[in-house]
């Protein structure tokens, strides 16, 4: 049953399974485990980015197509909803209409991009998407009357998804993990009681669960896709395109369709982002920096494994939110205004992440997930291998 749900693509590593379960449970019961606005918005972002990074991995990891236009499709989704809600009022109908329009535009653009550059050479696609995404960004920034320019747009979400909506009269009890841990460490006798807190269920909580459910469904869908015959062809194209062509597969068709599928999912992620963040601007949906972040998450989590997208997105967003605090602590230990303090300042977190990224491409090209799987495969192999090797060895010795 579980294997069926995961399309037979199990984590294949005990530590990875534990990590994935921890992420799943943390996200599923998130609002009841981690109090605070910051943790709540971060969990919402993790759900959105799991969709975004997993769909990017479908191109990058499974087909070796490098695209720099993924944020463009993300932005089309986000702006589509924002503009539709701004024009037709905050009803579910206008959200759906905006989403449909965004999807249509996404499909057309992705098709054009694919037809334009996939037939020439793979590397062209990276360069062409880079240029097109930039043109789109500049267009959105410049068209102030339509998109709000640099100021962005506030998204008036339907009432049922906003903070004013209260589906339940009384609030529920939550159990704060961070408070519990800190109470345990400080040795407080009332750790269990300290950790309890009240959770008010409102529209934002509902919206979070919509995002969580969508992320889960999209993830399972993508697992099914990559383990289907279609996914196998994609991997064949990745390994040896010429050979896949010789076997009779129309590789241009496959690559174009994977680009379109991935773009549509990015657009869906953009829709969720607009609804959960309730504010879109060029910087948080279209900037080149965001594209680089997606690339980092995908590669560090592990290209070519969808679990890598989950691990990568979670780790990266955690680092983005909390590594800065850690660096701030580190800086207070150093002499102020020295060169070293400049290097480890909280705004320098990206430097260390970039370094980690380059090193991980060299030494762990398969990312966190690939490395965990390799370790566990080696450990499983070790026992039988020792027996097999030992037998002929002892025979030669005795003979």
């Amino acid at each position: 049953m579980l294997s069926n749900l995961l399309s037979g693509d199990l984590p294949r590593s005990r530590r990875l399974t534990a990590a994935l379960l921890a992420i799943l449970l943390a996200l599923a019961f998130g609002p009841f485990l981690f109090p605070g606005v910051r943790a709540f918005s971060m969990m919402g972002m993790i759900c959105v980015f799991i969709i975004l990074v997993a769909s990017y991995d479908l191109m990058l990891g499974y087909t070796h197509i490098v695209s720099f236009a993924h944020t463009m499709f993300f932005g089309i989704g986000a702006y589509g909803v924002a503009m539709a809600v701004g024009t037709w009022g905050n009803s579910f109908g206008s959200v759906l209409l905006g989403m449909a329009g965004a999807l249509l535009l996404t499909i057309v653009l992705a098709l054009l991009l694919g037809l334009l550059s996939l037939r020439v050479k793979a590397i062209f696609f990276a360069l062409v998407t880079l240029a097109v995404a930039f043109a789109f960004l500049s267009l959105v920034t410049q068209l102030y009357p339509v998109t709000g320019g640099e100021d962005g747009m506030r998204v008036r979400v339907p009432r049922e998804l906003g903070p004013a909506f209260r589906p339940l009269e009384q609030s529920l009890w939550g159990f704060s993990l961070p408070d519990f841990c800190s109470a345990l460490v400080s040795g407080s006798a009332t750790a269990w009681d300290d950790a309890l807190f009240q959770v008010r269920i409102n529209g934002r909580t509902l919206m979070y669960y919509v995002a969580f459910g969508t992320a889960l469904l999209v993830f399972l869908f993508l697992l099914r896709v990559v383990n289907s015959p279609f996914g196998k062809v994609l991997q064949a194209i990745r390994e040896n395109e010429f050979r896949a062509q010789a076997l009779g597969y129309n590789t241009v068709l496959y690559r174009t369709s994977v680009v379109i599928l991935s773009a549509c999912l990015a657009c869906l992620a953009g829709v969720l982002f607009a609804l959960i963040n309730r504010y879109v601007n060029p910087e948080n949906t279209l900037a080149f920096e965001l594209m680089v972040f997606i690339l980092l998450m995908c590669v560090m989590g592990g290209m070519g494994t969808l679990y890598g997208a989950v691990v990568g997105a979670s780790l990266f967003l955690l680092a983005q939110n909390y590594l800065q605090d850690l660096l701030k602590l580190l800086v207070t230990q150093l002499p102020p205004d020295s060169g070293l303090a400049n290097l480890v300042g909280p705004e320098r977190w990206l430097l260390w992440f970039g370094l980690l990224f380059v090193l991980s491409v060299y030494f762990f090209p398969a990312g966190v997930v690939g490395q965990l799987r390799r370790w566990s495969a080696r450990r499983q192999q070790n026992n039988p291998v020792v027996e097999v090797v030992a037998k002929p060895g002892s025979q030669t010795l005795s003979s």
Partner: protein, 347 residues
């Protein structure tokens, strides 16, 4: 720039004219596109504006050419796609600005041409040296381990670009830095009632000089023969006993140095620099090398002038569409000639 001697189409019946235009289009696609763009722009604005915009566009193109030529050669010779090229542009800009603002401020602030030159030339030289030195280290540390693997090249050079730009922020701080242009280079000269900005004339001159120098090196010298042969067939050159690796290292360093030079020129042109200016310029650079045909210096030059011109023309007619027009030009050229204007590499 060479004059427009190619426009002299033989007079005759319209059919013959059409045929000769078609022939010209297929044999000299770069001239066809350039002249077509200039003519189209001339129809949309009055002559004086057109002249000023054309000069400005050529100046912008010349600076973009400096930045893009290194990347196209790196790709052509060694099949390495260096997406960190933008970081070298920023690096050159900051190195040049440092020289002008801190070390040679007296010369740069003086009002004599010679003193200004004594400030600007060392600034450009310093930018070139810094970019070349970092380029050497970058090739060694980042690019060498990933030869022959485009995917990894894209990944590590994007990572390397983040690191370089962050380091620029560590050294120079995260804020924008204003770079006042020395007096002898600001202002305009008036020729026949048309004001031409001095700095743009200098930029065009420098760009054409570098283009001429590169063309000479590539077409007339032994190193140039090896570079062209390496672009054509790398293994064959290696078989003849030449160390293509060293050759490539030289080209990579030269390309980084040129990016630095272009960045320093751009810093004085914009008079404001940020660590991320390289990222923004990278887009134009990418469009240029696709337009010209990956690996072709001549294509790169024409691509750069085209991008500069269309930016200025469209920027004048409808400022909001400048970037879209640039990318639109690229898309149109790709549909017409999928390998760029002057293809060198067979893909």
């Amino acid at each position: 720039m060479p004059t427009t001697n190619h426009t002299a189409a033989p007079a005759g019946t319209p059919a013959r004219l059409g045929a000769s235009i078609r022939q010209f289009r297929d044999q000299h696609p770069h001239w066809f596109l350039l002249l077509g763009l200039m003519l189209a722009a001339l129809l949309l604005m009055d002559f004086t504006t057109w002249l000023v915009l054309t000069l400005s566009g050529a100046a912008m193109g010349a600076m973009l050419f400096l930045m893009a030529s290194g990347m196209t050669l790196t790709f052509g010779l060694m099949n390495v796609l260096n997406l960190a090229h933008g970081a070298f542009i920023s690096l050159g800009a900051f190195a040049g600005a440092t020289t002008l603002l801190f070390w040679l401020n007296d010369q740069a602030a003086a009002s004599s041409l010679w003193l200004n030159l004594a400030g600007v030339l060392p600034a450009l030289l310093f930018a070139v040296l810094v970019a070349a030195a970092i380029g050497l280290m970058f090739e060694w540390l980042v690019i060498r381990p990933v030869y022959g693997d485009h995917l990894k090249q894209i990944l590590v050079t994007v990572g390397g670009s983040i690191i370089l730009m962050q380091l620029i922020e560590v050294v120079w701080g995260p804020n924008e830095i204003p770079v006042p242009r020395p007096e002898a280079f600001s202002g305009a000269v008036v020729v026949a009632g048309i004001a031409l900005e001095k700095y743009r004339l200098w930029a065009v001159a420098l760009g054409v000089l570098v283009y001429a120098l590169m063309t000479w090196v590539i077409e007339r010298t032994r190193i140039g023969i090896l570079i062209r042969a390496g672009v054509e067939d790398r293994e064959m050159v290696e078989v003849h006993g030449y160390r293509v690796r060293l050759l490539f290292l030289g080209v990579f360093i030269a390309g980084s140095a040129l990016a630095g030079l272009g960045g320093a020129m751009w810093a004085m042109y914009q008079e404001l620099i940020t660590a991320h200016m390289g990222d923004e310029l990278m887009i134009s650079v990418v469009v240029i090398i696709i337009l010209g045909g990956l690996g072709s210096v001549k294509g790169c030059f024409f691509g750069a002038i085209l991008v500069g011109l269309i930016n200025l023309y469209v920027g004048f007619l409808e400022p909001r569409l400048a970037a879209v027009a640039t990318v639109g030009l690229m898309v149109a050229v790709l549909m017409w000639r999928p390998q760029g204007l002057i293809p060198v590499i067979r893909v």
